[in-house]
Symmetry: C2
Subunit: 136 residues, 2 copies
């Protein structure tokens, strides 16, 4: 794929897929852990920049999704990068609460392949019941 054309408008320079989406990787700005992967459309990227908190497009819910809106585990965006061909974003974030995963772990990438099995390799920092408790 061709390289990102830096002469274009910054939003037009990105290569949105056939559904108007671009993959976004969130990385902890402090320790470098890759925290999660999600999708953005133009509106979610614009809201992310306007508000300073990561807003993704939830494909399952078919709506904008401000990460942390239920859990309180927002992601304060420190920097945004694109890759060479402009079809993937990398967000450097401060992860509020130190928990990005709905399972209560630091990162969604906690399953390590060991001898042809996926092994949970990171501790649960907070019980999900305490993260998503009704009425909280």
């Amino acid at each position: 794929m061709s390289d990102l054309d830096t002469s274009l408008d910054w939003l037009d320079a990105l290569k949105w897929d056939e559904n108007g989406m671009i993959p976004a990787i969130a990385q902890d700005a402090t320790n470098g852990r890759v925290l999660m992967f999600a999708w953005m459309n133009r509106e979610s990227l614009q809201e992310t920049i306007a508000g300073g908190k990561a807003v993704y497009w939830s494909r399952s819910r078919q709506r904008l999704w401000c990460k942390g809106e239920e859990s309180g585990h927002y992601q304060k965006v420190i920097a945004i990068r694109a890759d060479c061909d402009g079809d993937v974003l990398l967000l450097s974030v401060d992860q509020v609460g130190g928990i990005a995963c709905h399972t209560g772990r630091e990162s969604c990438f906690f399953l390590e392949l060991q001898e042809e099995r996926w092994i949970p390799a990171d501790p649960v920092l907070k019980d999900p019941k305490d993260i998503y408790s009704v009425g909280s």
Copy 2:
């Protein structure tokens, strides 16, 4: 999306998309830099594990693509993780040559958004002409 079912066969447990693909993020095992993003199908993941070097599916060339096959900048795979719902892979790699990007930079994510412009924010470590020279 439902969580990865660790009771399934490790390959069947992953959520391959409608094209039989899964996104894969490569991260430097030493310094934590996110190096690149690509796609894998079942065969590329199996080859990656069998050979210990990252093999992706090239959507532009429609064939398996062993990263480094032209440049020599192979990725030795140290560990493979999946995310909570099993639809993204994270590869921890030793990046041969310290260069993952075809532009001669360490990482493909070298374009930083600054005041609504994408600014190349990392140095070119090696001239691409010297990486991809004919006959080498």
